[in-house]
Symmetry: C3
Subunit: 449 residues, 3 copies
């Protein structure tokens, strides 16, 4: 009899596995892509950012064409892209790589190439790119997946998050860095290939690089450098993004990442991180004395330590408010993310990176949003500045952190005072006010919940 | 007897017409220019921005000179401008166009050429430029007129609005785009010719273009492109401002404007606007598939719809405050624009584009200014980003719109609470506070009223 | 008897002189440099910014080497810097200037050259640079000294003020402007040589120059200009920083400074300043009519007058608050600068330039910090824009000044209201609140006091 009862959990567990697989399959089968595919509908432009998932060729022209025929017609229709192809390695190869090799030859079912198509020939680069997945995110290869599986991406109106998908398409196509149809390595060695996306808050890689001595040299003289040269020491007076982050052209940017984009605190002195640090110093030694490189990177450690001290103070303040039920609107009072069942039944303010801070993009109380902005904008700005040698940017970023911390501390005191007043007046909760509760996202969430 | 009385309005009307003409004549006869010419005095530098109206040659050198004599002397005095002229089409023409052709030959009454002088030879370009007037403002040809006839331009201290006149001088001289004395078409094909003015809030055309893939290609490779080529398909790897907005070199930017600079909501689906849209798609098709261009422009429509939903919510909030007499200082409590008789006797808060929102530049209550900034900075930043393909800029602009709307909603609630408290305490009006009421503009207005 | 007593002050005075010298000697003998050398410890990176004071060579390689030996080894170790040297005037001289000339020949005691080393050969440039000291600060030659002797530099955590030292190192080494190891005059003629430091708030020299017509011409065409030409009229279509501020290559930027960086109000019409103005007009006349140059510089005067009117209003508001003991935390309530004995025993809020406004960088009440930001960011942004011909920047800067003044005026009113309430409730002082009192700097100050 006992064994019969014991069978219940065993059978339930055995059933859970195929049910889990089936649920994931169903979950990925909606109009969007990713785990929340049923919860969002892609914009038409998504077809160009994630072509393998969403692109369908227009049936404007019928017929099967050879490369020379494509060229003959497109020379008149879109001469720019043909000129770019003519200037490419593809055209100049002994056996030219022509249009059908990447797009197919049936004009009614043309496809836009994804990385696997390029990887058919460029095996090494594609392999390095896929290898990034081992190191998790941030990385290029996981960029689209992580974007479309973020609750805030799913919940927001698509017209406002097209920016996310557009840059995160670096995972789903190769022309983010090598523009159509020249696909030039020389082009991708220049910072412009990277900063189309790596720019603006929260990742001012462009501004901080250009503000550095490296960047100023590039701006002043880059137009005269010979970009056909590989990224090895002695070839360039100053490094560009790729020189340091894609050493010698490797298509793997994740395996040397130490400070993880500045979003979470790390200990730079673990043995694993000492190995990474040594790799950085070795790279800097292409031009600088190792001692100088180590001193500079030590400055970065110091900057990070101070930034995290400030962020920690803010985080503790928020957690104390949460503990005393002083966040308004609190979790449970505000609409849940449509994508998250868990959030609906077990609502909880996520404070700090490990609790899922990124979900504080919106739909939170004012002070949570303040902390989010302190963490995401002021902190990352200071980090990028320190990492890229933009001295003034460090000062600016820390001034912003100070201002943000002072404002947050003042706001927390007001919330406490208001809470005390209300309790003494009969325990009434504070009216949550309208900040972030009545905004358009929230209406959208309500409508879609 | 009845007919005698009927004559009164007829005669009055007949008299009103010549009196109206006389008034306009008088109104334009002051030291400034435009309808409010008596209400402002130009800065000395205005002579260089609107030379036809204000420039008088210094009488430093006396004599009547032929071109060769001008060159002989200025080769020593100002060799840079002579070198530029030598590099110009003017110098290389079969019959060179020399200095007196544009400046006159009597050194004591030299003039600075206005568009009509250039139009003497460049008839087609000048005609296209004048033709913009049919499409109203925004346009280049009406830029100066609209600047000097705006009440806020007239009312503000001239030292602070020199910027307006300087850029709006695109209407009154040709060297805004073609720098002296090379007057090169190649130069004007590059974005720098445009962004001297089209930059910064509220019109970050520069930042949003440079952040786009188009702009990044220009930044990386533009120095190597052959700018002597005309702006037709196949000649450039990426478009610049002029490629799209002055197709094939036409000096008419107003006739294809669809979203009207982002300042007012339009319906993109009227039949007239569908024709404009088709022209844009056709232009994009120089390089991109029509379907992709249409999808991108659809993204812009979506972005605008969301922006106007937010602006509409803010506008309704303000109008409700006005209806309940909760704007402080209200119209009538603050000094009127010196230029506007109407405003003095029929004061009214102007909320929204159709009521004259632009007059909220200053001298309004805090919350009106907040809405002005939301509309003029956050909204236009988002629009320009969406229109130019700056994905991150859209996100940034809408984050700003959200923040602004949340702050404005909170402020409106405070004003309502304060209003209720005062009414219950005996109907006293809120003290207007000092925001925008005691600033230097207001003092200036008071002094000049 | 009387004479005996009279001797006391005489002897005391005589003793004071050597004691003063001894104190200064002791004061400069700490681990940092400057008068407060005992109060701060340099970051390791300071060795590269002030090598004469802090650099010690690593003892990695032993031996005494001749130039050819250095090259032989470094061609493999750091080929980039060798390539730069080969492209330099040093390498192409009849008798090449090789590595030991600047670094010494004993590898274990190598030094990094300071300006005196470069001045050994480049006597004229070094002399001009030293001559700046006559004009005080702002100047290049006094930059490091003034940085490390500023109380706020000494008091702040070093990780956050590395930016100060890094740019102020223009005083202590020559490769701030002429990058290693090409040391090219051509390079220093381009704006990038200057804007590595002259950028960002509070000195947006880069943004304001690039926004001007001069800057736009440089951006569009600078890559094609012949930078080997000296900075004299006729050689360049548009001026760069050095063309105007280091006329004809003089290494002296301080002797033509009129508006003193915008930090204090000056009278442009003193006879000394009229002479300076005439020098500026003469410089502009390389390309422009003198009348136009004078009109433009008159615009700058007008802009400054309006800015100082706004700053003056803010300053008067703050001084009135101080007079009525309404600044909280007031001086004496907040920790003193560790570097300043005087501040500890005679605490006093420093309001306005002449009282030492720059010390309001931090550790002050909220409203003092507000004024600091108005003065340091909004004001200097407007000034740089007016001085460099960035028209829109003037508008933007003055809009910021207006907003700041309005906010400061509102905040002052709140402080007054709170003060009145407290006095009527028994004279209790306002609780100072937490702004700037509990921030990390203050904790640091407390810990180090």
């Amino acid at each position: 009899m006992r064994t019969r009862y014991l069978l219940i959990p065993v059978v339930a567990t055995l059933l859970a596995v195929p049910l889990g697989y089936a649920w994931v399959d169903w979950s990925r089968s909606g109009p969007g892509s990713g785990l929340y595919s049923h919860a969002w509908t892609p914009e038409p432009a998504q077809a160009y950012w994630d072509p393998a998932s969403f692109y369908t060729a227009p049936d404007t022209v019928a017929g099967v064409f050879a490369g020379a025929q494509c060229i003959a017609c497109h020379d008149a229709a879109t001469p720019g892209i043909v000129a770019d192809w003519r200037a490419s390695g593809h055209a100049r190869a002994a056996t030219p790589v022509m249009c059908p090799a990447c797009h197919g030859d049936d004009h009614q079912v043309l496809h836009l190439p994804d990385p696997a198509v390029c990887g058919g020939c460029h095996d090494q680069q594609h392999g390095e790119f896929l290898d990034e997945a081992r190191y998790g995110f941030p990385s290029h290869v996981l960029a689209m997946e992580r974007a479309v599986e973020a609750p805030h991406f799913v919940a927001k109106p698509k017209a406002e998050v097209q920016a996310c998908a557009q840059c995160h398409s670096v995972a789903t196509k190769c022309d983010s860095c090598h523009t159509r149809h020249r696909f030039s390595a020389a082009e991708a060695r220049r910072p412009e290939a990277c900063i189309t996306c790596h720019s603006g808050p929260p990742h001012p890689d462009d501004a901080t690089y250009f503000a550095s001595a490296h960047g100023q040299l590039y701006l002043a003289e880059g137009a005269e450098w010979d970009w056909s040269k590989p990224l090895v020491k002695g070839n360039y007076k100053a490094p560009t993004c790729a020189y340091c982050h894609m050493e010698r052209g490797r298509h793997q940017v994740a395996d040397k990442a130490l400070w993880k984009f500045g979003v979470l605190e790390i200990n730079p002195n673990t043995s694993a991180n000492r190995v990474l640090r040594a790799r950085w110093v070795e790279l800097c030694a292409d031009c600088h004395p190792r001692e100088q490189a180590a001193a500079w990177l030590g400055e970065l450690d110091g900057e990070r330590k101070r930034a995290w001290r400030k962020l920690g103070a803010a985080e503790r303040t928020l957690k104390a408010l949460r503990g005393d039920d002083l966040l308004h609107p609190g979790p449970g009072e505000r609409p849940a993310y449509p994508a998250s069942l868990w959030d609906r039944y077990f609502p909880r303010a996520r404070i700090g990176f490990y609790e899922g801070q990124a979900s504080a993009f919106y739909n939170v109380s004012g002070i949570e949003r303040d902390y989010f902005e302190m963490w995401y904008f002021a902190n990352l700005g200071a980090y990028k500045a320190a990492a890229h040698g933009d001295a003034a940017g460090v000062t600016r970023g820390h001034a912003a952190l100070d201002r943000d911390l002072a404002a947050l501390t003042a706001r927390a005191a007001e919330l406490r005072a208001a809470g005390t007043a209300e309790r003494s007046a009969g325990g009434r909760r504070a009216d949550p006010g309208t900040l972030w509760l009545d905004g358009p996202y929230t209406e959208y969430n309500r409508a879609n919940d």
